[in-house]
């Protein structure tokens, strides 16, 4: 029984256990956690003064108010001293964000620590060198010599860094904070001058929200408290019940339930109506974020389900209704926005030259959303309240928008609707990303200035590599074999290219020394231009790492001090180191420092002192904090007034130290941090753009949207002739509560892997009936880009004719089927739309059906 190992008692941290503050390693929410570490063999007592919790454990805890310490919150790890330690990680009650609440993902933080009695023992412990089709252990000394030698050899031959290609994270959380990002940035952008770099999951180095930033609005402008104060919350292509769960459960849902009315009364103007909140969900799926709210307040929820790719048309249509009904404040628009550009917006986005009825008929035809729903949404977003008070609407968008087709136009349309209705910069308003991971971006100047309107678009590095260009590919803390779009084509080509080098190295016997290996690698790279040398730096053996020539083991969350911000208030906190990394794994910043120093040695040996100096950026970095403080130098002077906060970078933390962060603990400080010009004290920024927008003149810059032009060629090919019949389903993709942001660990954790043993496809009951499919059946989903095996979930979350694939599962990624299309303005892919067919597999895998739940995930009534 039980399917997975269960516990019925847990160890109690003794009074002398080490106690650390940290923040969850996973999603955008960034819930606070407390960590307790003590040697195995000791245990605390039940009385409050006998344990480190300071809680009376002799009686069961009271619901909600009590301490949550569950089976998934304990592990045993091994320290560098060879001793075993208990590690207990529980949600922090003193975090103002989660207040003791936690999610299915953060609740397993303890299970993810390196432990010798579970799957996480598979962490990488020392560098691995490929010899033929095997990996063998090598030392850091040899690994550094190899990496530095190949890089220098390429630079010597080429005279530039154009053949050095990179795919790297750019963010916080997941063990990568400001420190690691800065180390990476210094190496690739300041020491090297790499221009073929792609960020995180995607094919290029870009922002996903240039459509907002180039208007003067950074995407992280609201605070989590705004979700408690809003009259209306709009979730646009965002499903926070599953992807920012505590934000939804602790802040959005209480508003919809009417439990925050007293807070509204306190925050609002005198006489302003304060009522339970409304919720609008815009999504092709009936998501759980909608159905949970529908269960508690069905008269105050609205679901708009646009056809794939048409959201910007819908956003502009809502804005048109706002215009027609006069739900805007002209004095605000004139004072705060660029009225010259506003004319362009009126013409191209609102299309005021087209009669209203004709315009709305066009929109209905394109989006599939009825006019009445569009008008209702406009009322809920912007219709003034009784007493002519402006409505307060918080609009939160995420992957349904940024990973939609026409990324730039989608994002721009939504932020413009928010500014048109003055729903930015006031309590209860804002327009920004929900976010995926946390953020920790600090880098020297990057090679990509902006969209096509600002010196872009950035280079598509995936295509560069697939076309056979580049000689060195360094993949850092991301797994493009799963995460890049059109990934089946990508991984086949990278495999082919890396194999060419592997085979050539083995001809005539493997090189006997590292120096000989460097020479031979360079010989092959310059005799066979298709050969590719690949280095993967990660915490596990990833799908991509299996094709690497060298694997570098990185430290993870809790194994070094780090700092990041969350996305609902830019809350900066210190994520304290609470245990040692496994084996010889090192923080990423230290790896880049060491590679840099080795390159410096090579240049110095040739008498090239000036070149050597560029690579010594990390010579004074002794601790994590040294890197944090060095990174701060990249930010602008933050001695500015509150009115000028808009001039600062969203992450600006100049003046903050680890000591300060230890003192503020879970309270943290919200970036951008200002040093008050009068007092010199550090002051956080709760919400942005109350006084000015982030442009040189402080005014919002309007943009005129493109017309509807249909679907891009990569997808339009499936809509005509025979192919329309061969690939009859629209496909969208997305995340699932259980494995969101966590699958790299979860594949090692029975509590997760048993629940989702295979990726799944959602299919509407009508389609399932027609095709003879039931939940639990296995199908192959396929198109001309790729294929995968998925388990069937029959659900009304999708409409007939639309299927949904869960993303990034280790047994098959939906990105095998996505096209290579990117927005020509930003090089951001359309991860969320293509066409495909499916075919039922003969037979079944009974063990999968036995462990996976087939119950409907969006049904709460």
């Amino acid at each position: 029984m039980a399917l997975i190992p269960r516990r019925d008692q847990l160890p109690i941290p003794p009074k002398n256990a080490r106690v650390h503050n940290t923040v969850c390693q996973y999603c955008t929410a960034g819930c606070g956690y407390k960590v307790y570490v003590w040697p195995v063999g000791q245990q605390g007592g039940l009385k409050a003064d006998q344990n480190a919790f300071g809680v009376d454990l002799s009686q069961p805890q009271p619901p909600l108010a009590g301490l949550s310490y569950t089976e998934t919150m304990h592990a045993v790890t091994t320290g560098k001293d060879g001793r075993q330690y208990h590690v207990v990680i529980v949600p922090a009650k003193d975090s103002p964000y989660n207040r003791g609440n936690y999610s299915i993902r953060g609740g397993t933080n303890a299970l993810t620590v390196w432990s010798l009695d579970r799957g996480t023992q598979d962490r990488l412990e020392y560098p691995l060198l490929r010899i033929g089709d095997q990996f063998q252990a090598i030392t850091w000394q040899d690994a550094l010599t190899l990496v530095a030698g190949v890089i220098k050899g390429i630079r010597d031959r080429d005279g530039n860094d154009d053949n050095i290609t990179v795919k790297a994270y750019d963010h916080g959380g997941s063990g990568q904070g400001f420190e690691d990002n800065y180390g990476l940035g210094k190496f690739f952008f300041a020491a090297l001058s790499v221009k073929h770099i792609a960020i995180h999951n995607r094919p290029a180095y870009n922002s996903e929200v240039w459509g907002s930033r180039e208007r003067g609005v950074h995407e992280l402008n609201y605070d989590y408290t705004d979700a408690r104060l809003a009259d209306t919350v709009v979730l646009w292509g965002a499903n926070p019940f599953e992807t920012a769960t505590v934000f939804y459960a602790e802040h959005i849902l209480p508003n919809i339930q009417g439990n925050t009315v007293a807070e509204k009364q306190e925050a609002f103007a005198k006489g302003e109506p304060a009522e339970p909140g409304y919720l609008i969900v815009v999504d092709p799926r009936k998501t759980s974020s909608y159905t949970v709210a529908e269960t508690v307040a069905k008269d105050r929820v609205l679901l708009l389900r646009p056809n794939l790719g048409t959201d910007y048309i819908l956003a502009n249509a809502i804005a048109r209704v706002v215009w027609e009904r006069g739900y805007y404040d002209m004095a605000y628009l004139q004072a705060r926005t660029d009225m010259g550009l506003f004319e362009e917006y009126k013409q191209k986005s609102l299309k005021l030259q087209v009669p209203y009825a004709e315009f709305m008929a066009q929109v209905e035809r394109i989006t599939g959303v009825p006019r009445a729903q569009i008008e209702k949404a406009a009322d809920w977003i912007a219709k003034p309240k009784a007493g002519k008070f402006k409505r307060r609407t918080l609009t939160i968008y995420e992957k349904g928008i940024i990973w939609n087709m026409k990324n730039y136009d989608q994002v721009a349309a939504i932020v413009q609707l928010a500014v048109l209705t003055h729903n930015v910069g006031r309590p209860g308003t804002g327009c920004g990303r929900l976010g995926g991971h946390q953020e920790g971006y600090v880098r020297p100047k990057s090679p990509t200035p902006g969209s096509i309107y600002r010196g872009g678009p950035p280079v598509n590095v995936d295509k560069f590599l697939v076309e056979g260009k580049g000689k060195f590919y360094w993949v850092v803390a991301t797994d493009p074999y799963l995460s890049t779009p059109n990934s089946q084509v990508f991984r086949k080509r990278i495999h082919e290219r890396t194999q060419k080098l592997t085979r050539a190295l083995g001809q005539g016997g493997e090189p006997g020394t590292i120096q000989e290996r460097v020479r031979k690698i360079l010989d092959v790279l310059y005799s066979d231009p298709d050969a590719l040398f690949m280095v993967v730096q990660d915490i596990y053996m990833t799908e991509t790492a299996r094709d690497a020539h060298l694997i570098l083991p990185a430290a993870g969350w809790g194994e070094a001090n780090e700092t990041s911000i969350n996305c609902q208030g830019r809350l900066l906190r210190l994520y304290e180191k609470f245990m040692d990394p496994p084996g010889e794994a090192k923080p990423d910043w230290e790896i880049f420092k060491l590679v840099g120093l080795r390159l410096a040695d090579l240049y110095r040996a040739e008498g090239k002192a000036q070149e050597a100096a560029k690579f010594e950026f990390g010579k004074n970095w002794k601790t994590d904090e040294d890197v944090f403080l060095a990174g701060a130098e990249e930010f602008k002077d933050n001695r500015v007034s509150e009115e000028d906060e808009a001039t600062l970078e969203a992450e600006n933390y100049k003046g903050v130290t680890y000591k300060f962060l230890k003192e503020v603990g879970q309270q943290g400080i919200r970036t951008p941090v200002r040093r008050d010009p009068k007092t010199g004290k550090l002051v956080g920024t709760v919400r942005r753009y109350t006084h000015k927008f982030g442009t040189p003149d402080g005014k919002f810059k309007w943009y005129g949207s493109d017309d509807w032009e249909g679907y891009p060629a990569e997808v339009a090919k499936y809509l005509e002739g025979e192919k329309a019949k061969q690939y009859p389903f629209w496909v969208t993709t997305g995340r699932a509560q259980t494995i969101w942001q966590t699958a790299y660990h979860d594949r090692h954790l029975p509590v997760k892997a048993a629940a989702l043993p295979l990726p799944y496809v959602e299919i509407h009951p009508e389609d399932a009936k027609r095709l003879g499919l039931q939940s639990g059946d296995l199908v192959e989903v396929y198109n001309e880009e790729g294929n995968g095996t998925f388990m069937v979930y029959v659900t009304d979350a999708v409409k007939p004719g639309l299927i949904f694939l869960v993303m990034y599962h280790w047994r098959g990624t939906s990105n095998s089927l996505t096209s290579g299309y990117t927005d020509p303005k930003t090089t951001i892919p359309w991860y969320k739309g293509t066409r495909a067919n499916l075919r039922k597999l003969a037979g079944s895998i009974p063990s999968v059906q036995q462990t996976a739940s087939l119950l409907q995930q969006n049904k709460f009534d």
């Binding site: 269960r6 619901p63 936690y102 397993t108 509590v751």
Partner: protein
Amino acid sequence: MTQTLSRRRFVKLTAAATALFTAGGKAQLGYAPSLTYPAVKVANVSQVKTGQPVTFSYPDASSPAILVKLGKPAVGGVGPGRDIVAYSALCTHMGCPVQYEGGRFICRCHYSMFDPAKAGQTYQGLASSWLPQIPLRVDGKGDIYAVAVAGLIWGRVKNV
């Protein structure tokens, strides 16, 4: 071993468990069941109707539990259809009561949902630990006994 739990024996057992509970000492790292549980009669197979939950307390009076006949085979299910299962009725997320409705357990505090046929796994929602399953045993007369708890009951560091 299987026996009906009299009130007096229940009190004795609880007292013994409390003594163990407060003893402190080395942490036990074994898997459930690692403790001594009472055997408590919950119902008779002939009385349990599909979809109609039976509430009871186990392993002590402050631990609500629910027994249910699902009408289809379940992991750990007993009875002729292998479909009778029992679980702790405290949500493993933050300790609110779960209800058996529509073929699943649901917690109305934050909307975690657990699958009674799949070992109490969280198939949606916030709870990172699955619902603790209560292993059942059926005797020759069809009496169903709760005999242990596989999983930690919310709010405790030790089930008994």
